[in-house]
């Protein structure tokens, strides 16, 4: 079972619940219902899955999806070896065999025909046919599928098919409330609460611009980066520019506005 152990989350990940998502997830897991996590980037979706895997003490297999990903990248493929060909399981197949939580991150990045392979696993059948190998895998009783995507920034082309969407229960994530986000920043980076509150305020400034030239606001993750830099002795203004403003925009007007917000936020 050492194979299974390598996927276990050992240390407790820091996660601060925003609502009742922890109990709701536990209920979904108890029924082995597939789960979909929606929300902007850097708001804690992946951290939440990691935390739940730790809490339920189940292995977690994460796949970061991308446009070049094909069905065989998920399911598995034949490789050559000295005696002929050898089948190699893909991450989805491994999870189904081991009874792990399979987490497909940013699922819409993968092409739609690719994501169809998860369909038989996500309804009452709970099977995964490996047509090339001629095998039908019954999913392990502990297996669960979790997908995440960001409804905000992708183009219309990259939406989930209705037939895929309607196989999941869903959570809507968003950036936490200011007070909670401040706490998170304090815990993650160790800066003092006042500074963390200022950083969160700047992040919210940028979030106000979503849809007006910004695809996404400044994520909690970036706020933590900025706080970490400040904790290592970087001047606050520089850290904010480097970690919070520069990464999110190439638009000179927006950059100037956010730079001004940074300047205006520090006395």
């Amino acid at each position: 079972m050492s194979n299974k152990d390598q996927y276990l989350v050992r240390a407790e990940p820091f996660y601060r619940a925003q609502g009742r998502e922890v109990e709701l997830y536990e209920a979904a897991y108890a029924a082995r219902l597939p789960v979909m996590l929606k929300g902007p980037t850097g708001c804690g979706k992946s951290r939440f899955v990691e935390y739940m895997a730790w809490k339920l003490n189940k292995p977690l297999i994460t796949v970061a999806c991308n446009e070049d990903m094909t069905a065989s990248d998920l399911v598995g493929r034949y490789l050559l070896d000295a005696n002929g060909t050898r089948w190699l399981d893909g991450p989805l197949t491994i999870a189904a065999r081991l009874g792990a939580i399979c987490y497909l991150d940013e699922i819409v990045e993968a092409r739609q025909d690719t994501t169809v392979v998860i369909h038989p696993l996500t309804d009452h059948r709970r099977v995964l046919p490996l047509d090339k190998k001629g095998e039908l895998i019954e999913a392990h009783p502990d297996f669960q599928l979790v997908i995440s995507y960001n409804p905000g920034y992708q183009s219309l082309m990259k939406d989930l098919k209705q037939s895929t969407k309607q196989r999941f229960t869903a959570f809507d994530f968003d950036y936490p409330e200011a007070a909670l986000e401040t706490q998170i920043v304090v815990t993650e980076s160790g800066v003092d609460a006042e500074l963390a509150a200022t950083l969160v305020k700047i992040a919210q400034t940028a979030r106000n611009l979503k849809g007006h030239g910004l695809d996404e606001g400044i994520s909690t993750r970036l706020v933590v980066y900025a706080a970490t830099l400040i904790g290592r002795g970087v001047a606050p203004q520089d850290a904010c520019r480097m970690a919070m403003v520069r990464p999110i925009t190439d638009d000179a007007d927006i950059r100037a506005t956010l730079d001004h917000a940074v300047d205006a936020s520090f006395p």
Binding site: T70, A71, S72, D73, R77, Y78, L79, L80, G84, T85, R111, S155, T205, A206, N208, L209, H212, G213, D253, I254, A256, T257, L258, H260, A261, D263, A264, S265, F266, P267
Partner: protein, 781 residues
């Protein structure tokens, strides 16, 4: 002084008590009594600043001007203004006087001698603004250049007509130099010369600052941060920092002299000045953009925290005090939100000296309130007045950690006015210096008037607001700039493009046309099928791929087992091969399209192109192309254009990207008509504006035209050509590829200039229906 009346008596014999004045008068040798009346005063001023040699030069110049034969005005202007000019230009007349005299001689020798008087009259005002001899020299150069280039001549040798614009130029110059640098003035003048050199009345309008484009060019050349340049950052600023959004309306500060408008807001939007220079405050430099931000932040503060008070209960002084307290309250709250704003506010806030105003002779209320206002914002203020300190303490106590209220501030203000009142507050002489806080709005939202008050002023005419704009049938025009190759600048808002739906005709006509070309259509269809996207394409021979390519793998394995180096490229992968092309077909619908196709060029047995107009042929071609693109599935739009001067460029919508190729579109296509001229640049820009909003990988603008750009209000054939070339460059910068199919056999001369390599000339027009779709397929293959 009465002008125009010839005085008979000679003033040469006038005698003066002061011997020096008497000598000077004799030297001047002048017979105008009007000059004699003021001469003594002028010499007194001159003696105060000039030494003997300078005085001699001054008198010498005056004598010359007096003998020009232009009456007493130029001489009077010179005598009175010159000492002030020299004083303003740092006291040395040596380099300046020859310059000015040279200019006067030049004007005297040309027919422009009438302009000498306004030149001399405004010279002192100019000198005060320019402050240095070099700058004044530049100014004179600009004026002389204007004179030379606008003086008219009949046979080309001698200038015989005076420059119409020159006197107006001199009249306006002081005002212009308030707004423009000398470089800006030069650009403004050049623009006027270039566009109105041959049109005296328009030229006068231009140099009198009466015409719209004259003002537009002034606006463009102004120094400082222009509102139009920062509108978007300001909008972002409001949204990002204050979660507010409001229409921002600039008001003009260039042409209001008596009363400078102040920022304000009402239900129609936030009004801000159209330009801000960088401010050099007591605490350092504040950029124009930051000044705009301060204005907006202040208004946002009012919108968030200010209530309304009934104005009728207060005296004007009390109201002023209430406004100061309230402004400080909201600014304190703003600075709580963003502490860094304190820097900006304090840098813009005047810092009046405590003893600057004398309460015995002047009304000091403004001065007291400005000091108080500063002290309320800056804890490190320098003031020591006990009353002031007491009220600062009471203010902060009232605010505490809460937000207080407008009501509470009004009470505080009333008690402040009562405690600090002085008799002298009523004086007419009010101390204004250093008390104007220009980023604050006029607080009109603060007051509620129950009765009509007579001291209330709005600079928007209330009648004007109530008047509803006339309902118009079509869309309002979109204005586009036009490239002026001579000056390498854009003419702002030059061409007005009116977009309208093309009228409809009979859709069956188009179907009939398509039937007529059924044979051709069949041929095209075969080509089209080849082009259709084959959604998935297999790529073989990959070292890394999604699947094992078994054929290759087996042969590799055989190689391996038999000891030969195996081919490692045994995988295959897939690639989607979709077309992602948006195309806009822009049709030139100018008059020349109504010409018949020349006889003798048609092919026998083609069903008769003979006698057809170019328009009908284009119609067939466009129908076929539209049908072909529709088969391919690429999104496409069709539009036509023609123009009747720059004020009326018509852009006719025939098919939009999201419209289907159906009867509605065909009906519009069937009604295609030609007329007027070809202002290509404006149409290209408008079409490009639609295309650039599309998200396709490749955006193509296909222009079908039969001639070069031309319009009835443009005499220089190169101008519109250059403009079209510029428009194509702009399109390229936006990621739009423009391609031109020209039906003009002589197009080679100019089409290359405009479209670079992307053009084709069709010399056999009757083949157009066949060529256009094939061309498109070649372009997008």
């Amino acid at each position: 002084m009465v002008t125009g009346v010839r005085q008979v008596q000679d003033a040469r014999s006038r005698s003066y008590a002061h011997p020096q004045v008497q000598t000077a008068w004799l030297e001047l040798d002048c017979g105008f009594p009007a000059v004699a009346d003021v001469f003594e005063e002028c010499i007194d001023t001159a003696l105060a600043s000039f030494d003997a040699a300078q005085l001699d030069a001054y008198l010498e110049a005056a004598r010359f001007i007096g003998k020009l034969g232009r009456g007493p005005e130029p001489l009077l202007a010179f005598l009175e203004e010159w000492p002030a000019v020299v004083a303003a230009a740092s006291g040395d007349q040596e380099p300046l006087l020859p310059q000015v005299m040279g200019a006067i001689r030049a004007m005297q020798k040309s027919p422009n001698s009438k302009a000498i008087t306004p030149f001399l009259q405004t010279l002192a005002a100019i000198a005060r603004r320019l402050q240095s001899a070099e700058q004044i020299e530049l100014y004179i150069d600009i004026a002389l250049n204007l004179m030379q280039r606008t003086s008219g001549s009949i046979h080309g040798h001698h200038t015989t007509f005076p420059s119409p614009g020159l006197p107006h130029f001199f009249d306006q110059a002081p005002r212009l130099l308030d707004l423009l640098s000398t470089a800006g003035l030069r650009n403004w003048t050049d623009y006027g010369i270039r566009n109105y050199a041959s049109h005296p009345e328009r030229q006068e309008d231009y140099f009198r600052l009466d015409s719209a484009d004259s003002r537009a060019v002034v606006q463009r050349e102004r120094h400082g941060t222009l509102f139009v340049d920062v509108e978007r950052p300001l909008d972002l600023y409001l949204r990002a920092l204050w979660r507010d959004s409001e229409q921002l309306v600039p008001y003009s500060t260039a042409f209001d002299e008596l009363r400078k408008p102040i920022p304000y807001y009402d239900r129609l939007g936030m009004r801000v000045p159209d330009v801000y220079d960088d401010a050099h405050g007591p605490a350092g430099l504040v950029s124009g953009l930051d000044r705009y931000r301060a204005v907006l932040a202040h208004m946002v503060g009012h919108r968030r925290w200010s209530g309304q008070i009934i104005a009728d209960n207060y005296s004007p002084f009390q109201r002023m005090a209430v406004e100061f307290f309230e402004d400080c309250r909201i600014e304190t709250l703003l600075m709580r939100e963003y502490p860094g704003l304190r820097r900006v506010f304090l840098a813009l806030h005047p810092l009046p000296g405590e003893t600057e105003c004398d309460p015995e002779t002047t009304s000091c209320l403004r001065h007291r309130l400005a000091m108080l206002s500063y002290a309320l914002l800056d804890p490190k203020h320098p003031y020591t007045n006990p009353q002031l300190l007491e009220f600062v303490a009471r203010f902060h106590e009232a605010l505490g950690d809460g937000v207080s209220s407008t009501r509470e501030m009004a009470d505080l203000a009333l008690s402040y006015v009562a405690r600090t009142r002085r008799q002298s507050d009523q004086f007419a002489k009010v101390h204004f210096d250093n008390t104007v806080i220009d980023y604050r709005d006029d607080n009109r939202h603060l007051w509620q008037y129950i009765e009509d008050s007579d001291d209330e002023e709005f600079f928007d005419d209330p009648d004007k607001q109530n008047r509803k704009p006339a309902e118009s049938q079509s869309l309002p025009p979109r204005r586009y700039p036009e490239w002026d190759a001579a000056s390498q600048t854009y003419r702002p808002d030059w061409a007005s493009v009116y977009e309208a739906l093309h009228p409809s005709g009979n859709a069956a006509d188009i179907d009939r046309l398509l039937d007529k070309h059924a044979v051709l259509a069949k041929r095209l269809k075969r080509l089209l099928d080849l082009l259709k996207p084959q959604d998935k394409v297999r790529i073989r021979y990959q070292e890394e791929g999604s699947d094992l390519d078994l054929d290759v793998a087996i042969s590799s394995l055989i190689d391996y087992k038999s000891g030969v180096a195996p081919d490692p490229r045994i995988n295959m992968s897939h690639r989607t091969d979709g077309r992602n092309i948006d195309v806009l077909l822009l049709l030139d619908l100018s008059e020349s399209l109504n010409q018949k196709v020349p006889e003798g060029t048609h092919r026998a047995g083609d069903g008769g192109t003979a006698g057809q107009t170019v328009l009908e042929l284009s119609q067939e071609a466009v129908s076929l192309l539209a049908w072909a693109i529709d088969c391919l599935g690429d999104p496409f739009a069709i539009a036509g254009f023609h123009s009747n001067t720059r004020h009326e460029v018509r852009y006719q919508h025939i098919k939009g990207f999201s419209e289907r190729w159906d009867d509605g579109v065909k009906a519009r296509l069937a009604a295609m008509q030609a007329g007027w001229s070809t202002r290509m640049g404006a149409a290209l820009r408008h079409a490009g504006h639609y295309l650039s909003a599309r998200k396709a990988d490749k955006k193509i603008l296909l222009l079908l035209t039969d001639g070069e750009p031309a319009d009835v209000d443009v005499t220089d054939p190169g101008h519109l050509r250059e403009d079209a070339r510029k428009a194509v460059e702009e399109l390229a910068a936006k990621g739009v590829t423009a391609f031109c199919l020209s039906l003009d056999p002589k197009a080679d001369d100019y089409v290359r200039d405009i479209f670079g390599k992307r053009w084709r000339v069709l010399d056999r027009i009757e083949r157009l229906p066949e060529t256009l779709p094939t061309l498109y397929m070649e372009l997008t293959r």
